[in-house]
Amino acid sequence: MALVLPALLCLTCGLVLVSLGWRRQSPRASDLLLCASLSFGCGVGIFSVIFFLARVSGITNVLALDLTLFALLLASLFLLQTRAKTNVTTALAREPFDGPIWLHRVLTATFVVALCADVYSTVLRTLAHPHGDGWDAFAIWNLHARFLFRGAAHWRDGFSLLIPWSHPDYPLLLPAAVAHFWTFLGYDAPAVPALIGLAFTLATVALLFSSLSILRGAVPAMLGGLTLLATPSFLALGTWQYADVPLSFFILATIVLLRLYDARHSPGFLALAGLAAGFAAWTKNEGVLFVAAVVLARTLLIRNRRVFSSESRLAVTHIVPLLAAILPVFLLVACFKYFVAPSGDLFSDPRTMLHKLLDPLRYGVILKWYAKEFLRFGHWLLLPAPLLMLAYYSFLTHPDVRSDADSGDRASILALSLTLAGYFAIYLITPYDLYWHLHFSLSRLFLQLWPSAIFLFFLAVPLGAAALARGR
Protein backbone atom coordinates (compact mmCIF):
# COMPACT_ATOMS: atom_id res chain seq x y z
CA MET A 1 0.00 0.00 0.00
CA ALA A 2 2.89 2.33 0.86
CA LEU A 3 4.08 1.80 -2.71
CA VAL A 4 0.96 3.31 -4.27
CA LEU A 5 1.86 6.97 -3.75
CA PRO A 6 5.42 6.79 -5.14
CA ALA A 7 4.15 4.61 -7.99
CA LEU A 8 1.51 7.24 -8.82
CA LEU A 9 4.10 10.03 -8.67
CA CYS A 10 6.41 8.02 -10.94
CA LEU A 11 3.63 7.34 -13.45
CA THR A 12 2.42 10.95 -13.39
CA CYS A 13 5.95 12.28 -13.99
CA GLY A 14 6.21 9.86 -16.91
CA LEU A 15 2.79 10.86 -18.24
CA VAL A 16 3.63 14.59 -18.16
CA LEU A 17 6.97 13.90 -19.84
CA VAL A 18 5.29 11.84 -22.58
CA SER A 19 2.54 14.48 -22.97
CA LEU A 20 5.23 17.09 -23.65
CA GLY A 21 6.11 15.24 -26.84
CA TRP A 22 2.80 13.78 -27.82
CA ARG A 23 -0.82 14.70 -27.44
CA ARG A 24 -3.17 11.82 -28.09
CA GLN A 25 -5.26 12.04 -31.23
CA SER A 26 -8.18 9.95 -30.08
CA PRO A 27 -9.53 8.30 -26.95
CA ARG A 28 -9.00 4.90 -28.57
CA ALA A 29 -7.86 2.15 -26.19
CA SER A 30 -4.68 1.51 -28.17
CA ASP A 31 -3.65 5.19 -27.87
CA LEU A 32 -4.31 5.08 -24.13
CA LEU A 33 -2.37 1.83 -23.77
CA LEU A 34 0.60 3.18 -25.74
CA CYS A 35 0.60 6.35 -23.67
CA ALA A 36 0.38 4.36 -20.41
CA SER A 37 3.22 2.00 -21.27
CA LEU A 38 5.47 4.85 -22.43
CA SER A 39 4.57 6.81 -19.28
CA PHE A 40 5.60 3.88 -17.10
CA GLY A 41 8.99 3.55 -18.83
CA CYS A 42 9.68 7.29 -18.84
CA GLY A 43 8.51 7.55 -15.22
CA VAL A 44 10.97 4.87 -14.10
CA GLY A 45 13.67 6.55 -16.19
CA ILE A 46 13.07 9.99 -14.70
CA PHE A 47 12.85 8.52 -11.17
CA SER A 48 16.22 6.91 -11.73
CA VAL A 49 17.81 10.12 -13.04
CA ILE A 50 16.44 12.17 -10.11
CA PHE A 51 17.78 9.73 -7.54
CA PHE A 52 21.22 9.53 -9.14
CA LEU A 53 21.47 13.34 -9.33
CA ALA A 54 20.38 13.57 -5.68
CA ARG A 55 23.11 11.15 -4.65
CA VAL A 56 25.77 12.92 -6.74
CA SER A 57 24.83 16.35 -5.40
CA GLY A 58 24.35 15.13 -1.81
CA ILE A 59 20.65 16.10 -1.66
CA THR A 60 18.89 13.98 0.95
CA ASN A 61 15.33 15.26 0.48
CA VAL A 62 14.45 13.31 -2.64
CA LEU A 63 10.72 14.05 -2.36
CA ALA A 64 11.38 17.81 -2.65
CA LEU A 65 13.41 17.12 -5.80
CA ASP A 66 10.59 14.95 -7.18
CA LEU A 67 7.96 17.60 -6.57
CA THR A 68 10.16 20.36 -8.04
CA LEU A 69 10.72 18.39 -11.21
CA PHE A 70 7.05 17.46 -11.39
CA ALA A 71 6.07 21.15 -11.11
CA LEU A 72 8.59 22.08 -13.82
CA LEU A 73 7.29 19.37 -16.15
CA LEU A 74 3.71 20.46 -15.51
CA ALA A 75 4.55 24.13 -16.17
CA SER A 76 6.31 23.17 -19.43
CA LEU A 77 3.27 21.17 -20.49
CA PHE A 78 0.95 24.07 -19.69
CA LEU A 79 3.12 26.52 -21.65
CA LEU A 80 3.36 24.18 -24.59
CA GLN A 81 -0.38 23.58 -24.72
CA THR A 82 -1.23 27.27 -24.58
CA ARG A 83 1.20 28.04 -27.41
CA ALA A 84 0.29 25.13 -29.68
CA LYS A 85 -2.76 26.29 -31.61
CA THR A 86 -2.73 23.84 -34.46
CA ASN A 87 -2.76 20.12 -34.54
CA VAL A 88 0.38 19.07 -36.41
CA THR A 89 -0.27 15.35 -36.42
CA THR A 90 -2.27 13.38 -38.89
CA ALA A 91 -4.47 10.38 -38.28
CA LEU A 92 -3.11 7.08 -39.49
CA ALA A 93 -4.97 4.99 -41.98
CA ARG A 94 -5.10 1.55 -40.41
CA GLU A 95 -5.40 -1.53 -42.52
CA PRO A 96 -8.85 -3.13 -42.20
CA PHE A 97 -9.00 -6.87 -41.62
CA ASP A 98 -10.40 -8.59 -44.71
CA GLY A 99 -10.30 -12.12 -43.33
CA PRO A 100 -13.16 -14.24 -42.06
CA ILE A 101 -14.72 -13.19 -38.77
CA TRP A 102 -14.04 -16.62 -37.21
CA LEU A 103 -10.32 -16.08 -37.69
CA HIS A 104 -10.52 -12.76 -35.91
CA ARG A 105 -12.37 -14.44 -33.04
CA VAL A 106 -9.90 -17.33 -32.83
CA LEU A 107 -7.01 -14.88 -32.78
CA THR A 108 -8.63 -12.71 -30.11
CA ALA A 109 -9.37 -15.75 -27.92
CA THR A 110 -5.82 -17.09 -28.34
CA PHE A 111 -4.32 -13.72 -27.51
CA VAL A 112 -6.40 -13.44 -24.33
CA VAL A 113 -5.50 -17.04 -23.31
CA ALA A 114 -1.78 -16.37 -23.89
CA LEU A 115 -1.96 -13.10 -21.94
CA CYS A 116 -3.65 -14.81 -18.97
CA ALA A 117 -1.16 -17.71 -19.11
CA ASP A 118 1.76 -15.30 -19.10
CA VAL A 119 0.42 -13.17 -16.24
CA TYR A 120 -0.20 -16.38 -14.26
CA SER A 121 3.32 -17.66 -14.94
CA THR A 122 5.15 -14.38 -14.25
CA VAL A 123 3.26 -13.78 -10.99
CA LEU A 124 4.05 -17.31 -9.76
CA ARG A 125 7.70 -16.98 -10.77
CA THR A 126 7.94 -13.67 -8.93
CA LEU A 127 6.39 -15.19 -5.79
CA ALA A 128 8.77 -18.17 -5.98
CA HIS A 129 11.84 -15.97 -6.51
CA PRO A 130 11.17 -12.68 -4.68
CA HIS A 131 14.87 -11.72 -4.85
CA GLY A 132 15.15 -12.58 -8.54
CA ASP A 133 16.10 -15.80 -10.24
CA GLY A 134 19.82 -16.02 -10.93
CA TRP A 135 22.93 -14.40 -9.56
CA ASP A 136 22.91 -11.16 -11.50
CA ALA A 137 19.92 -9.90 -9.51
CA PHE A 138 21.68 -9.97 -6.12
CA ALA A 139 25.27 -9.77 -7.36
CA ILE A 140 24.79 -6.77 -9.68
CA TRP A 141 21.47 -4.95 -10.01
CA ASN A 142 19.93 -5.15 -6.53
CA LEU A 143 23.39 -4.93 -4.94
CA HIS A 144 23.97 -1.57 -6.66
CA ALA A 145 20.49 -0.48 -5.58
CA ARG A 146 21.35 -1.37 -1.96
CA PHE A 147 24.57 0.65 -2.10
CA LEU A 148 22.68 3.64 -3.53
CA PHE A 149 19.96 3.34 -0.87
CA ARG A 150 21.91 2.26 2.22
CA GLY A 151 25.23 3.91 1.42
CA ALA A 152 24.10 7.55 1.91
CA ALA A 153 27.31 9.58 1.55
CA HIS A 154 29.30 6.36 0.91
CA TRP A 155 27.19 5.13 -2.00
CA ARG A 156 30.22 5.17 -4.30
CA ASP A 157 31.72 2.25 -2.32
CA GLY A 158 29.39 -0.03 -4.26
CA PHE A 159 31.33 0.64 -7.44
CA SER A 160 34.57 -0.71 -6.02
CA LEU A 161 36.72 -3.16 -7.95
CA LEU A 162 37.07 -5.12 -4.70
CA ILE A 163 33.68 -6.73 -5.42
CA PRO A 164 34.49 -9.07 -8.31
CA TRP A 165 31.94 -9.66 -11.09
CA SER A 166 29.62 -6.97 -9.81
CA HIS A 167 30.14 -5.01 -13.04
CA PRO A 168 30.52 -1.57 -11.41
CA ASP A 169 30.54 0.05 -14.87
CA TYR A 170 26.94 -0.98 -15.62
CA PRO A 171 24.61 2.06 -15.90
CA LEU A 172 22.11 2.73 -13.14
CA LEU A 173 18.60 3.13 -14.53
CA LEU A 174 17.29 0.06 -12.73
CA PRO A 175 19.30 0.28 -9.44
CA ALA A 176 18.66 4.01 -9.00
CA ALA A 177 14.92 3.68 -9.70
CA VAL A 178 14.67 0.81 -7.19
CA ALA A 179 16.63 2.84 -4.60
CA HIS A 180 14.27 5.79 -5.21
CA PHE A 181 11.23 3.67 -4.34
CA TRP A 182 13.04 2.21 -1.31
CA THR A 183 13.71 5.75 -0.09
CA PHE A 184 9.96 6.42 -0.08
CA LEU A 185 9.30 3.17 1.77
CA GLY A 186 12.16 3.64 4.24
CA TYR A 187 13.46 0.08 3.79
CA ASP A 188 14.71 -2.11 0.97
CA ALA A 189 11.62 -4.18 0.21
CA PRO A 190 12.35 -7.01 -2.26
CA ALA A 191 8.88 -6.39 -3.72
CA VAL A 192 10.12 -3.21 -5.46
CA PRO A 193 12.60 -4.73 -7.95
CA ALA A 194 10.24 -7.69 -8.38
CA LEU A 195 7.30 -5.44 -9.29
CA ILE A 196 9.43 -3.24 -11.55
CA GLY A 197 10.63 -6.36 -13.40
CA LEU A 198 7.07 -7.62 -13.76
CA ALA A 199 5.80 -4.21 -14.89
CA PHE A 200 8.53 -3.82 -17.54
CA THR A 201 7.67 -7.26 -18.95
CA LEU A 202 3.96 -6.46 -19.24
CA ALA A 203 4.65 -2.89 -20.43
CA THR A 204 6.79 -4.26 -23.28
CA VAL A 205 3.90 -6.48 -24.38
CA ALA A 206 1.50 -3.51 -24.07
CA LEU A 207 3.83 -1.24 -26.04
CA LEU A 208 4.21 -3.77 -28.84
CA PHE A 209 0.49 -4.50 -29.01
CA SER A 210 -0.69 -0.88 -28.86
CA SER A 211 1.84 0.46 -31.35
CA LEU A 212 1.02 -2.24 -33.91
CA SER A 213 -2.66 -1.62 -33.29
CA ILE A 214 -2.25 2.10 -34.06
CA LEU A 215 0.02 1.62 -37.05
CA ARG A 216 -1.42 -1.54 -38.64
CA GLY A 217 -4.65 -2.54 -36.93
CA ALA A 218 -5.94 -5.16 -34.51
CA VAL A 219 -4.86 -8.34 -36.31
CA PRO A 220 -1.13 -7.53 -36.70
CA ALA A 221 -1.23 -6.19 -33.12
CA MET A 222 -2.61 -9.43 -31.73
CA LEU A 223 -0.26 -11.56 -33.87
CA GLY A 224 2.73 -9.48 -32.71
CA GLY A 225 1.63 -9.54 -29.09
CA LEU A 226 1.03 -13.29 -29.30
CA THR A 227 4.51 -13.87 -30.72
CA LEU A 228 6.08 -12.08 -27.75
CA LEU A 229 3.75 -13.71 -25.22
CA ALA A 230 4.71 -17.09 -26.69
CA THR A 231 8.42 -16.53 -25.99
CA PRO A 232 8.95 -18.44 -22.72
CA SER A 233 12.49 -17.13 -22.08
CA PHE A 234 11.40 -13.48 -22.44
CA LEU A 235 8.73 -13.97 -19.78
CA ALA A 236 11.18 -15.80 -17.49
CA LEU A 237 13.87 -13.14 -17.97
CA GLY A 238 11.34 -10.47 -17.01
CA THR A 239 11.02 -11.99 -13.56
CA TRP A 240 14.77 -12.48 -13.00
CA GLN A 241 15.20 -8.79 -12.06
CA TYR A 242 17.94 -8.32 -14.70
CA ALA A 243 18.12 -5.20 -16.89
CA ASP A 244 17.66 -6.97 -20.23
CA VAL A 245 13.87 -6.68 -20.39
CA PRO A 246 13.88 -2.95 -19.40
CA LEU A 247 16.50 -2.44 -22.14
CA SER A 248 14.30 -4.28 -24.64
CA PHE A 249 11.45 -1.96 -23.61
CA PHE A 250 13.47 1.21 -24.30
CA ILE A 251 14.83 -0.17 -27.60
CA LEU A 252 11.27 -0.96 -28.72
CA ALA A 253 10.03 2.44 -27.49
CA THR A 254 12.72 4.20 -29.56
CA ILE A 255 11.80 2.27 -32.71
CA VAL A 256 8.05 2.71 -32.19
CA LEU A 257 8.39 6.46 -31.62
CA LEU A 258 10.63 6.85 -34.68
CA ARG A 259 7.97 5.01 -36.71
CA LEU A 260 5.26 7.30 -35.32
CA TYR A 261 7.41 10.29 -36.24
CA ASP A 262 7.86 8.98 -39.80
CA ALA A 263 4.08 8.51 -40.03
CA ARG A 264 2.90 11.71 -38.34
CA HIS A 265 5.88 14.09 -38.74
CA SER A 266 5.46 15.53 -35.27
CA PRO A 267 8.86 16.54 -33.81
CA GLY A 268 7.59 15.58 -30.35
CA PHE A 269 7.81 11.91 -31.34
CA LEU A 270 11.41 12.41 -32.40
CA ALA A 271 12.25 14.02 -29.06
CA LEU A 272 10.54 11.18 -27.17
CA ALA A 273 12.43 8.65 -29.31
CA GLY A 274 15.67 10.37 -28.31
CA LEU A 275 14.67 10.26 -24.66
CA ALA A 276 13.84 6.54 -24.89
CA ALA A 277 17.19 5.91 -26.62
CA GLY A 278 18.95 7.85 -23.85
CA PHE A 279 17.19 5.72 -21.23
CA ALA A 280 18.34 2.60 -23.14
CA ALA A 281 21.93 3.80 -22.74
CA TRP A 282 21.25 4.49 -19.02
CA THR A 283 19.93 0.92 -18.59
CA LYS A 284 22.80 -1.20 -19.94
CA ASN A 285 26.05 -0.75 -21.84
CA GLU A 286 24.45 -2.45 -24.84
CA GLY A 287 22.08 0.53 -24.94
CA VAL A 288 25.01 2.83 -25.77
CA LEU A 289 25.76 0.63 -28.77
CA PHE A 290 22.09 0.78 -29.80
CA VAL A 291 22.06 4.60 -29.62
CA ALA A 292 25.13 4.79 -31.88
CA ALA A 293 23.45 2.35 -34.29
CA VAL A 294 20.18 4.33 -34.38
CA VAL A 295 21.90 7.67 -34.99
CA LEU A 296 24.03 6.16 -37.77
CA ALA A 297 21.04 4.44 -39.39
CA ARG A 298 18.89 7.61 -39.28
CA THR A 299 21.75 9.66 -40.73
CA LEU A 300 22.09 7.21 -43.61
CA LEU A 301 18.31 7.38 -44.11
CA ILE A 302 18.48 11.16 -44.56
CA ARG A 303 21.31 10.86 -47.06
CA ASN A 304 19.22 8.44 -49.11
CA ARG A 305 16.00 10.48 -49.06
CA ARG A 306 15.39 12.87 -51.89
CA VAL A 307 12.20 14.40 -50.57
CA PHE A 308 13.54 17.71 -49.40
CA SER A 309 15.60 20.12 -51.38
CA SER A 310 18.31 20.79 -48.86
CA GLU A 311 20.19 18.13 -46.93
CA SER A 312 21.04 20.52 -44.11
CA ARG A 313 17.34 21.27 -43.62
CA LEU A 314 16.71 17.53 -43.45
CA ALA A 315 19.41 17.10 -40.86
CA VAL A 316 17.92 19.87 -38.72
CA THR A 317 14.41 18.42 -38.97
CA HIS A 318 15.15 14.71 -38.59
CA ILE A 319 18.27 14.42 -36.48
CA VAL A 320 18.64 17.48 -34.24
CA PRO A 321 15.54 16.86 -32.02
CA LEU A 322 16.61 13.23 -31.70
CA LEU A 323 20.16 14.14 -30.67
CA ALA A 324 18.97 16.97 -28.42
CA ALA A 325 16.79 14.52 -26.48
CA ILE A 326 19.48 11.82 -26.33
CA LEU A 327 22.14 14.26 -25.13
CA PRO A 328 21.08 14.97 -21.50
CA VAL A 329 20.78 11.29 -20.55
CA PHE A 330 23.90 10.50 -22.56
CA LEU A 331 25.80 13.16 -20.61
CA LEU A 332 24.57 11.55 -17.40
CA VAL A 333 25.89 8.17 -18.59
CA ALA A 334 29.20 9.82 -19.49
CA CYS A 335 29.42 11.48 -16.05
CA PHE A 336 28.72 8.15 -14.35
CA LYS A 337 31.36 6.41 -16.46
CA TYR A 338 33.95 9.12 -15.91
CA PHE A 339 33.44 10.09 -12.27
CA VAL A 340 31.95 7.02 -10.59
CA ALA A 341 32.49 3.76 -12.45
CA PRO A 342 35.84 2.06 -12.95
CA SER A 343 36.74 1.14 -16.52
CA GLY A 344 34.80 -1.72 -18.09
CA ASP A 345 36.03 -5.29 -18.21
CA LEU A 346 35.52 -6.00 -21.91
CA PHE A 347 38.45 -4.08 -23.33
CA SER A 348 42.00 -5.37 -22.87
CA ASP A 349 45.20 -3.91 -24.32
CA PRO A 350 45.10 -2.99 -28.04
CA ARG A 351 47.63 -5.63 -29.08
CA THR A 352 45.62 -8.47 -27.55
CA MET A 353 42.39 -7.13 -29.05
CA LEU A 354 44.01 -6.84 -32.49
CA HIS A 355 45.33 -10.39 -32.21
CA LYS A 356 41.82 -11.62 -31.44
CA LEU A 357 40.31 -9.56 -34.25
CA LEU A 358 42.66 -11.24 -36.73
CA ASP A 359 41.83 -14.76 -35.57
CA PRO A 360 39.46 -16.31 -38.16
CA LEU A 361 38.54 -19.16 -35.80
CA ARG A 362 36.79 -16.73 -33.47
CA TYR A 363 34.60 -15.46 -36.34
CA GLY A 364 33.57 -19.04 -37.12
CA VAL A 365 32.74 -19.86 -33.51
CA ILE A 366 30.65 -16.70 -33.03
CA LEU A 367 28.80 -17.18 -36.32
CA LYS A 368 28.00 -20.77 -35.35
CA TRP A 369 26.63 -19.61 -31.98
CA TYR A 370 24.62 -16.83 -33.62
CA ALA A 371 23.01 -19.39 -35.96
CA LYS A 372 22.38 -21.86 -33.12
CA GLU A 373 21.02 -19.29 -30.71
CA PHE A 374 18.81 -17.73 -33.40
CA LEU A 375 16.70 -20.88 -33.24
CA ARG A 376 16.62 -21.43 -29.50
CA PHE A 377 16.98 -18.13 -27.62
CA GLY A 378 13.21 -17.99 -26.97
CA HIS A 379 13.07 -21.50 -25.48
CA TRP A 380 10.14 -22.25 -27.80
CA LEU A 381 8.33 -25.56 -27.92
CA LEU A 382 8.86 -27.52 -31.16
CA LEU A 383 9.03 -24.70 -33.71
CA PRO A 384 11.27 -21.64 -33.14
CA ALA A 385 9.36 -18.40 -33.67
CA PRO A 386 11.94 -16.89 -36.08
CA LEU A 387 11.49 -19.89 -38.42
CA LEU A 388 7.73 -19.68 -38.01
CA MET A 389 7.77 -15.98 -38.87
CA LEU A 390 9.96 -16.55 -41.93
CA ALA A 391 7.60 -19.29 -43.14
CA TYR A 392 4.56 -17.08 -42.49
CA TYR A 393 6.14 -14.17 -44.34
CA SER A 394 7.12 -16.28 -47.35
CA PHE A 395 3.59 -17.73 -47.51
CA LEU A 396 1.93 -14.32 -47.47
CA THR A 397 4.37 -12.50 -49.71
CA HIS A 398 3.81 -12.53 -53.42
CA PRO A 399 5.60 -10.62 -56.17
CA ASP A 400 2.42 -8.56 -56.57
CA VAL A 401 2.14 -7.85 -52.85
CA ARG A 402 4.41 -5.05 -51.77
CA SER A 403 5.90 -5.15 -48.31
CA ASP A 404 4.76 -2.25 -46.18
CA ALA A 405 8.27 -1.53 -44.88
CA ASP A 406 9.21 2.07 -45.72
CA SER A 407 12.64 3.70 -45.58
CA GLY A 408 12.18 4.57 -41.89
CA ASP A 409 11.50 0.91 -41.11
CA ARG A 410 14.55 -0.07 -43.11
CA ALA A 411 16.59 2.38 -41.01
CA SER A 412 15.29 0.67 -37.86
CA ILE A 413 16.13 -2.76 -39.29
CA LEU A 414 19.60 -1.42 -40.06
CA ALA A 415 19.91 -0.08 -36.49
CA LEU A 416 19.07 -3.51 -35.04
CA SER A 417 21.47 -5.20 -37.47
CA LEU A 418 24.25 -2.77 -36.53
CA THR A 419 23.58 -3.47 -32.85
CA LEU A 420 23.86 -7.21 -33.51
CA ALA A 421 27.09 -6.55 -35.42
CA GLY A 422 28.35 -4.55 -32.44
CA TYR A 423 27.62 -7.49 -30.12
CA PHE A 424 29.57 -9.66 -32.58
CA ALA A 425 32.56 -7.29 -32.38
CA ILE A 426 32.49 -7.37 -28.56
CA TYR A 427 32.59 -11.18 -28.63
CA LEU A 428 35.56 -11.00 -30.98
CA ILE A 429 37.63 -8.99 -28.49
CA THR A 430 36.25 -10.33 -25.22
CA PRO A 431 38.96 -11.04 -22.63
CA TYR A 432 36.88 -13.94 -21.28
CA ASP A 433 36.68 -17.48 -22.56
CA LEU A 434 34.69 -17.09 -25.76
CA TYR A 435 32.49 -20.18 -25.26
CA TRP A 436 31.71 -19.23 -21.67
CA HIS A 437 30.84 -15.66 -22.67
CA LEU A 438 28.61 -16.76 -25.56
CA HIS A 439 26.93 -19.41 -23.43
CA PHE A 440 25.96 -17.01 -20.64
CA SER A 441 25.01 -13.89 -22.58
CA LEU A 442 24.07 -14.39 -26.24
CA SER A 443 20.48 -15.50 -25.67
CA ARG A 444 19.85 -12.43 -23.47
CA LEU A 445 21.33 -10.14 -26.14
CA PHE A 446 18.95 -11.61 -28.72
CA LEU A 447 16.03 -11.14 -26.31
CA GLN A 448 16.93 -7.44 -25.91
CA LEU A 449 16.18 -6.95 -29.63
CA TRP A 450 13.36 -9.49 -29.93
CA PRO A 451 10.32 -7.21 -29.23
CA SER A 452 11.63 -4.67 -31.77
CA ALA A 453 12.21 -7.41 -34.34
CA ILE A 454 8.60 -8.61 -33.87
CA PHE A 455 7.35 -5.03 -34.23
CA LEU A 456 9.25 -4.46 -37.48
CA PHE A 457 8.19 -7.86 -38.81
CA PHE A 458 4.48 -7.20 -38.31
CA LEU A 459 4.84 -3.73 -39.79
CA ALA A 460 6.23 -5.31 -42.94
CA VAL A 461 4.14 -8.45 -43.26
CA PRO A 462 1.26 -8.00 -45.72
CA LEU A 463 -1.99 -8.98 -44.04
CA GLY A 464 -4.44 -7.08 -46.23
CA ALA A 465 -6.70 -8.04 -49.08
CA ALA A 466 -3.89 -8.90 -51.47
CA ALA A 467 -2.34 -11.30 -48.99
CA LEU A 468 -5.72 -12.80 -48.37
CA ALA A 469 -6.19 -13.40 -52.07
CA ARG A 470 -2.85 -15.16 -52.12
CA GLY A 471 -3.86 -17.43 -49.27
CA ARG A 472 -7.19 -18.44 -50.84
Binding site: T110, A128, P164
Partner: protein, 125 residues
Protein backbone atom coordinates in the same frame (compact mmCIF):
# COMPACT_ATOMS: atom_id res chain seq x y z
CA UNK B 1 -3.97 -16.45 -45.30
CA UNK B 2 -6.45 -18.08 -42.86
CA UNK B 3 -4.58 -21.41 -42.96
CA UNK B 4 -1.19 -19.78 -42.47
CA UNK B 5 -2.54 -17.64 -39.64
CA UNK B 6 -4.16 -20.62 -37.89
CA UNK B 7 -0.90 -22.59 -38.10
CA UNK B 8 0.95 -19.57 -36.75
CA UNK B 9 -1.51 -19.24 -33.85
CA UNK B 10 -1.29 -22.97 -33.02
CA UNK B 11 2.51 -22.88 -32.92
CA UNK B 12 2.39 -19.84 -30.61
CA UNK B 13 -0.08 -21.70 -28.37
CA UNK B 14 2.38 -24.59 -28.07
CA UNK B 15 5.04 -22.28 -26.64
CA UNK B 16 2.44 -20.61 -24.42
CA UNK B 17 1.74 -24.08 -23.02
CA UNK B 18 5.43 -24.32 -22.12
CA UNK B 19 5.14 -21.00 -20.24
CA UNK B 20 2.37 -22.51 -18.10
CA UNK B 21 4.00 -25.95 -17.70
CA UNK B 22 7.27 -24.44 -16.49
CA UNK B 23 5.60 -22.05 -14.05
CA UNK B 24 5.99 -22.96 -10.36
CA UNK B 25 3.21 -25.13 -8.96
CA UNK B 26 0.86 -22.83 -6.98
CA UNK B 27 -0.06 -25.70 -4.61
CA UNK B 28 3.60 -26.10 -3.58
CA UNK B 29 4.77 -22.54 -3.87
CA UNK B 30 7.66 -21.78 -1.53
CA UNK B 31 9.86 -18.69 -1.89
CA UNK B 32 13.51 -19.57 -2.58
CA UNK B 33 16.16 -19.47 0.16
CA UNK B 34 17.96 -16.27 -0.90
CA UNK B 35 16.73 -14.35 2.16
CA UNK B 36 17.72 -17.26 4.46
CA UNK B 37 21.20 -17.44 2.98
CA UNK B 38 21.62 -13.67 2.90
CA UNK B 39 19.78 -11.13 5.08
CA UNK B 40 18.63 -13.47 7.86
CA UNK B 41 21.90 -15.39 8.02
CA UNK B 42 24.02 -12.25 8.50
CA UNK B 43 21.58 -10.10 10.49
CA UNK B 44 23.33 -10.51 13.88
CA UNK B 45 26.80 -10.12 12.35
CA UNK B 46 25.73 -6.96 10.53
CA UNK B 47 24.79 -5.28 13.80
CA UNK B 48 28.32 -5.93 15.12
CA UNK B 49 30.11 -4.46 12.09
CA UNK B 50 30.91 -0.84 11.24
CA UNK B 51 28.38 1.00 9.03
CA UNK B 52 30.75 1.37 6.09
CA UNK B 53 34.26 0.54 4.96
CA UNK B 54 35.91 -2.66 3.76
CA UNK B 55 35.99 -6.01 5.56
CA UNK B 56 37.66 -9.28 4.64
CA UNK B 57 35.95 -12.57 3.85
CA UNK B 58 36.80 -16.24 4.13
CA UNK B 59 34.53 -19.19 3.51
CA UNK B 60 34.44 -22.89 2.76
CA UNK B 61 31.90 -22.90 -0.03
CA UNK B 62 32.92 -23.83 -3.52
CA UNK B 63 29.99 -21.78 -4.81
CA UNK B 64 30.76 -18.06 -5.28
CA UNK B 65 27.04 -17.40 -4.73
CA UNK B 66 27.62 -17.60 -0.95
CA UNK B 67 30.15 -14.76 -1.13
CA UNK B 68 27.73 -12.61 -3.16
CA UNK B 69 24.88 -13.33 -0.77
CA UNK B 70 27.11 -12.16 2.11
CA UNK B 71 28.01 -9.01 0.16
CA UNK B 72 24.34 -8.44 -0.65
CA UNK B 73 23.36 -8.74 3.00
CA UNK B 74 26.17 -6.54 4.33
CA UNK B 75 25.99 -3.66 1.80
CA UNK B 76 26.97 -0.79 2.10
CA UNK B 77 30.04 -2.50 3.58
CA UNK B 78 32.41 -3.68 0.87
CA UNK B 79 33.23 -7.37 1.39
CA UNK B 80 36.65 -8.22 -0.07
CA UNK B 81 37.18 -11.92 -0.69
CA UNK B 82 40.50 -11.88 1.21
CA UNK B 83 41.62 -12.26 4.85
CA UNK B 84 43.95 -9.22 4.60
CA UNK B 85 41.75 -6.77 6.51
CA UNK B 86 41.56 -5.92 10.24
CA UNK B 87 38.06 -7.41 10.39
CA UNK B 88 37.30 -10.62 8.53
CA UNK B 89 34.00 -12.44 8.36
CA UNK B 90 33.83 -16.20 8.14
CA UNK B 91 31.03 -17.85 6.19
CA UNK B 92 31.14 -21.61 6.76
CA UNK B 93 28.32 -23.82 5.64
CA UNK B 94 29.71 -26.70 7.72
CA UNK B 95 30.22 -25.72 11.40
CA UNK B 96 33.89 -24.98 12.16
CA UNK B 97 35.51 -26.55 15.25
CA UNK B 98 36.95 -23.74 17.47
CA UNK B 99 40.50 -25.16 17.32
CA UNK B 100 40.64 -25.22 13.53
CA UNK B 101 40.89 -21.54 12.63
CA UNK B 102 41.43 -21.03 8.94
CA UNK B 103 44.60 -18.98 9.37
CA UNK B 104 47.24 -18.35 12.03
CA UNK B 105 46.80 -14.59 11.84
CA UNK B 106 43.07 -14.73 12.50
CA UNK B 107 41.68 -14.44 15.99
CA UNK B 108 38.07 -15.38 16.55
CA UNK B 109 36.15 -12.41 17.95
CA UNK B 110 32.67 -13.87 17.96
CA UNK B 111 30.81 -16.92 16.72
CA UNK B 112 27.33 -15.86 15.59
CA UNK B 113 26.26 -19.44 15.04
CA UNK B 114 25.21 -21.25 11.91
CA UNK B 115 28.76 -20.97 10.52
CA UNK B 116 28.93 -17.16 10.65
CA UNK B 117 32.03 -15.90 12.45
CA UNK B 118 33.89 -12.65 12.97
CA UNK B 119 37.69 -12.60 13.10
CA UNK B 120 40.34 -9.99 13.76
CA UNK B 121 43.45 -10.08 11.63
CA UNK B 122 46.33 -8.89 13.79
CA UNK B 123 48.75 -8.56 10.86
CA UNK B 124 46.46 -6.55 8.59
CA UNK B 125 47.16 -2.83 8.31
Amino acid sequence: MPIATVIFILCCLLSTARVVIEAPNPARLHPDDIANRSDWRFAALKAALPKQGVIGYIGDSSSPADYYLAQYALAPLVVDHSPNHPLVIGNFLTPLPPQSLPSDQLQLLKDFGNGVLLFANRDAK
